[in-house]
């Protein structure tokens, strides 16, 4: 019985046993004697209870020690900390020495990690600045943007909220705490001798209260202000007014009219985006509103606790109610009947379409990080393997397992720190490049806006913490597992083994690492291949006009013209000067340029439609003048172009696009037919004099062209188009002409059509470029990983291969054997990667154009590329294997 009790006492930790073990045993035995005296059953129960008690208490003592006298405890703690610091110091010093003896290994690991950590840090800094940083408004989570749509009507998305509906929202929606109306534009602004085309926002006083804005200087507009007052942006105040606080109260020409500065905003207030130079007060009163227009945007603050779905439900019935009360033109009524509010969180509205590409990039660099860690883990495992005997000797000499793990982790931490510092440097250099290369948040000319917050991306404390965290995770990922494995059970066994190359059980684990690497590379390859194909398809889209050799700009004359004819004469004189520039072939203008400002839209009707009472269709329209169609290369299908006299006098003739002809006059000859806009007062009918090819107006992704009507125009500030082989170098000469003809006027929105077409693809090309870089990196890292594993295996199997060769195996057979091994691993990786890609490509579906996310050719092509690269990576170790000299290999035993 004593032995049993002694065994139970062993549940206690040694320190406790040494102190109290004898006493416990004493008590147990004394009690046992008593219990036995009272019968067998008593004795049995006593033994069971006593042993259980000792086991439970013993285990508890191990978890939460009760025993340790205070001095010993403090001493132990001091000693432990000190000893640990000493040990780490020793291990780090040792790691520095041993790494400096392996400069190749060190360099490869640090560079791999620096690339991976740098890419992650850079993308994270952008994600943080754009997606994670809260908007600079109080309680920004309750701010929403309200727009509208009318399903079933062929309208462009983002219909806006009509003024009267805005007032209805304000009056009868309890879920809205506050809401403001705003619209943006650009116009000539003149302060003393400085003249420029600037962006501005027209905003109701409630716009400022909704956003919780406070001015830096002066005050904000109130309901009493008219539109003769402006609030300056911080940047305009700094650059144009030299941060002069005395500017408040002075008047200048803002947006063509004299307005008084009443306040200056702080640098953090940049709404709707950082280009806005000033805000003009918009005194909108419910009584003045006439139904019929959809233009501006609504920003609103939801009451606390309101859900977006709930808000939508409250807004939904109001459009119909307003329309029933106020009426309006027929097409407007039809839209209002179908009007549906679209409510988005303000950030989502501002960040728009960049959120998805950014998260895709974050995912891609995350995969790169994973691959890099695996590569380094592989290198580490090989290194640990080769030091197995060394570690075993240290273990045999009394080093604890913790010590062995620590000494290997010291190397991992040092390398990760190197990688982290390198990564921070890469990010520091790379973020500005990234910011520069990034596309606009909203692509497409006039509506385009920079990604909000992007300019603020950079290395700050959070980003550096992320960088440090990533480095630490990397160190654990590639250091800890090999360290634990090579210090654990079976280590001593390797002492007993000879150096004979037995392939360890770690082969499987290492193959699995390579499989994951290759699979990740395949995912990135498929993604980037799909984007490349989309880019290719998109760049081959025919927009209906030439994109090459066309220079475009806008300019507003510096004087008012008495009538249409004199403005037209001025424009023709100006265009003649432009045409005289050497190398210029033709010059024209349009009120709204495709891919930049798109075009207006209106309901038009024809005599036949009016007679039948059918719905008037919606068409796009713009005013054209000069040699617009010839310059843009828009083909004339029938009829003729405008003549100068038609523009001068505003003769009601129109040129329509092919699809407009098919829509308005199906099966008829459109020439000589008539049409008129529904909303227009009076009954001027326009006569069709020509039909031209369709063009894409807003972006290149539109599948079917929109019907378009061109009117003969004169316009104050149209977009001029100039055809010249030197389109990209024409700006200085055009500027010189402007300085001569209209010296006071700024030239703005200066582009080539080529640039506008590229802009329309910017979001795609940016994501594509980033994914290509990521995929290439992944491909290389994956190949290097496979190469490393095979090289290692060939080296370990050299004796066995030597025997084979000595027994007459041919070099070719040996090569085939090794390549097949690599090929098998690669094939498994490709299969896993393809399966993963099948699930993941839907994340880039919205970016794709003309190619399906599960495009079989792309999947097959990338798989072949990956297998080919893998075989190539296997061939070098295979070549080495076939050159094994049996004599050398066997002598090494």
């Amino acid at each position: 019985m004593r032995a049993l009790f002694a065994l139970a006492v062993r549940a206690f930790p040694r320190a406790f046993r040494e102190r109290f073990g004898a006493g416990m045993l004493d008590v147990m035995l004394a009690d046992y004697d008593l219990a036995r005296a009272r019968g067998r059953a008593r004795a049995c129960a006593f033994v069971v209870a006593t042993v259980l008690d000792a086991l439970v208490e013993g285990v508890w003592e191990r978890i939460a020690p009760a025993w340790m006298d205070p001095e010993a405890r403090a001493r132990a703690r001091r000693w432990q900390v000190k000893a640990m610091l000493e040990a780490w110091k020793r291990d780090f010093a040792f790691a520095v020495r041993s790494l400096s003896r392996a400069p190749g290994f060190t360099l490869v690991v640090v560079v791999t990690l620096a690339l991976a950590i740098g890419a992650n840090t850079a993308i994270f800094s952008v994600v943080k600045a754009v997606l994670l940083e809260p908007l600079p408004f109080p309680n920004a989570d309750r701010l929403v943007h309200i727009g509208g749509t009318a399903p079933g009507m062929d309208l462009r998305e983002g219909l806006g909220v009509p003024d009267e509906l805005y007032f209805e929202y304000g009056e009868s929606v309890p879920a809205l705490e506050d809401l403001g109306l705003y619209g943006t534009g650009s116009s000539t602004t003149r302060v003393e001798d400085q003249v420029e085309q600037l962006f501005f926002t027209r905003a109701t006083p409630s716009f400022f209260t909704t956003l919780g804005a406070r001015p830096l200087l002066g005050r904000l507009p109130t309901e009493e202000d008219d539109d003769r007052v402006v609030v300056l942006s911080h940047w305009l105040w700094q650059t144009w007014f030299g941060s002069d606080p005395g500017v408040v109260g002075r008047s200048y020409t803002f947006a063509r009219e004299t307005r008084t500065v009443i306040g200056v905003m702080g640098p953090e207030f940049r709404f709707p985006d950082e280009r806005v130079a000033f805000w003009i007060a918009w005194p909108l009163r419910a009584a003045q509103v006439t139904p019929g227009g959809f233009g501006p945007s609504v920003v609103a603050r939801m009451a606390p606790g309101t859900e977006i779905a709930g808000l939508v439900a409250q807004l939904q019935p109001l459009a119909r109610r307003v329309q029933e009360r106020l009426g309006g033109p027929a097409p407007y009524v039809r839209i209002m009947e179908r009007h549906r509010p679209i409510v988005e969180p303000l950030r989502e509205h501002l960040v728009g379409k960049v959120a998805r590409p950014l998260w895709i990039l974050m995912g891609a660099v995350g995969i790169i990080f994973l691959i890099a860690c695996m590569n380094v883990a592989n290198l580490f495992a090989v290194r640990a393997e080769s030091r197995r005997r060394d570690l075993a000797v240290r273990r045999a000499l009394g080093a604890g397992r913790g010590g062995l793990v620590r000494s290997q982790m010291a190397e991992a931490l040092l390398l990760a720190a190197g990688g982290g510092i390198g990564g921070a440097l890469i990010a520091w250099a790379g973020v500005p490049l990234l910011v520069h290369a990034a596309p606009d948040a909203v692509a497409g000319g006039f509506r385009s806006a920079p990604i909000p917050g992007l300019a603020a991306a950079g290395l700050d404390t959070t980003v550096l913490l992320f960088n440090a965290g990533a480095s630490l995770v990397a160190a654990c990922a590639f250091g800890l597992v090999p360290a634990l494995r090579s210090s654990g059970a079976g280590l001593l066994a390797s002492l007993r083994q000879s150096g004979r190359g037995v392939i360890g059980q770690s082969t499987l684990a290492r193959d699995a690492l390579v499989v994951v690497q290759i699979a990740s590379a395949v995912v990135l390859l498929v993604g980037s291949a799909l984007l490349v194909r989309s880019f290719w398809q998109l760049s081959r889209v025919d927009p209906g006009f030439d994109t090459e050799g066309i220079f475009t700009f806008q300019v507003a004359p510096d004087r008012e013209f008495a009538d249409r004819a004199s403005l037209s004469r001025f424009q023709y004189a100006f265009m003649d000067r432009l045409a005289a520039i050497p190398g210029v072939e033709s010059v024209g203008f349009i009120t709204l340029l495709p891919l930049d400002e798109g075009a207006d839209q209106s309901f038009v009707t024809t005599p036949r439609l009016e007679a039948s009472g059918a719905e008037a269709p919606l068409v796009r329209h713009a005013g054209a003048g000069g040699a617009y169609f010839q310059t843009m290369g828009i083909e004339l299908l029938s009829g003729r172009y405008f003549e100068r006299v038609e523009e001068e006098r505003g003769i009601p003739n129109v040129i329509i696009s092919k699809s407009a002809a098919e829509l308005l006059y199906p099966g008829e000859d459109p020439l000589g037919q008539q049409l008129r806009p529904v909303a227009a007062s009076g009954d001027t009918w326009y006569t069709v004099i020509g039909v031209v090819e369709d063009v894409l107006l807003d972006d290149l992704r539109r599948e079917s062209p929109e019907p378009m009507v061109y009117l003969p125009a004169v316009a104050g500030s149209p977009a001029y188009v100039v055809k010249s082989a030197r389109a990209d170098r024409l700006a200085p000469e055009v500027r010189a002409v402007i300085r001569e003809v209209i010296p006071e006027s700024p030239m703005y929105r200066v582009f080539t059509m080529e640039r506008l077409a590229a802009n329309a693809m910017a979001s795609l090309s940016f994501t594509m470029l980033m994914l290509i870089i990521a995929a290439t990196l992944a491909l290389v890292l994956g190949a290097v990983g496979l190469y490393g594993v095979l090289s290692y295996r060939v080296a370990r199997r050299a004796p066995e291969i030597g025997v084979r060769i000595a027994l007459g195996a041919e070099g070719r057979a040996v090569r085939r054997m090794v390549v097949m091994q690599g090929g098998r691993v690669a094939l498994v990786g490709v299969v896993v990667g393809v399966i993963a890609a099948l699930g993941l490509t839907r994340f880039i579906e919205t970016l794709l154009f003309g190619v399906q996310p599960l495009d079989a050719e792309t999947f097959a092509g990338t798989s072949i590329v990956m297998v080919a690269v893998a075989l190539l990576a296997s061939y070098i170790p295979a070549l080495r294997a076939s050159r094994v000299d049996p004599v050398v290999a066997l002598r090494a035993e």
Binding site: A11, A22, L25, D26, D53, A66, W67, P70
Partner: protein
Amino acid sequence: MSDNQAPAPLSSLEYHVLLALASGPLYGYALKEAIVEESGGALRPRAGSLYRVLARLMGWGLVEEAAPAKPAEPHPGLERKYYALTRHGWDALRQEAARLREAAVLAERRLGLAADKA
């Protein structure tokens, strides 16, 4: 150090260990017997539990190893260790006793009231 301080109130086993040692230094088995007796048989600690409580009280500085009050009887086997209260141990016992007395007074008063009503 905070983990070296005795919590208030003590557990009943902790209290009874202090209470038993207040009669003078005791060795393990004698301590156990005293606890069983003084608790009226409510507490019958087994060896593991008893020694862990003892270890904890020593850790808090309430109990220490000591020489026996009178020369030990001859005992076969290992030399017995005796345990005694430290100065802090006496204080802790006093405090705990006062706390229990207050609680008991309160309980009696309420029971008395209840009895009056009945």
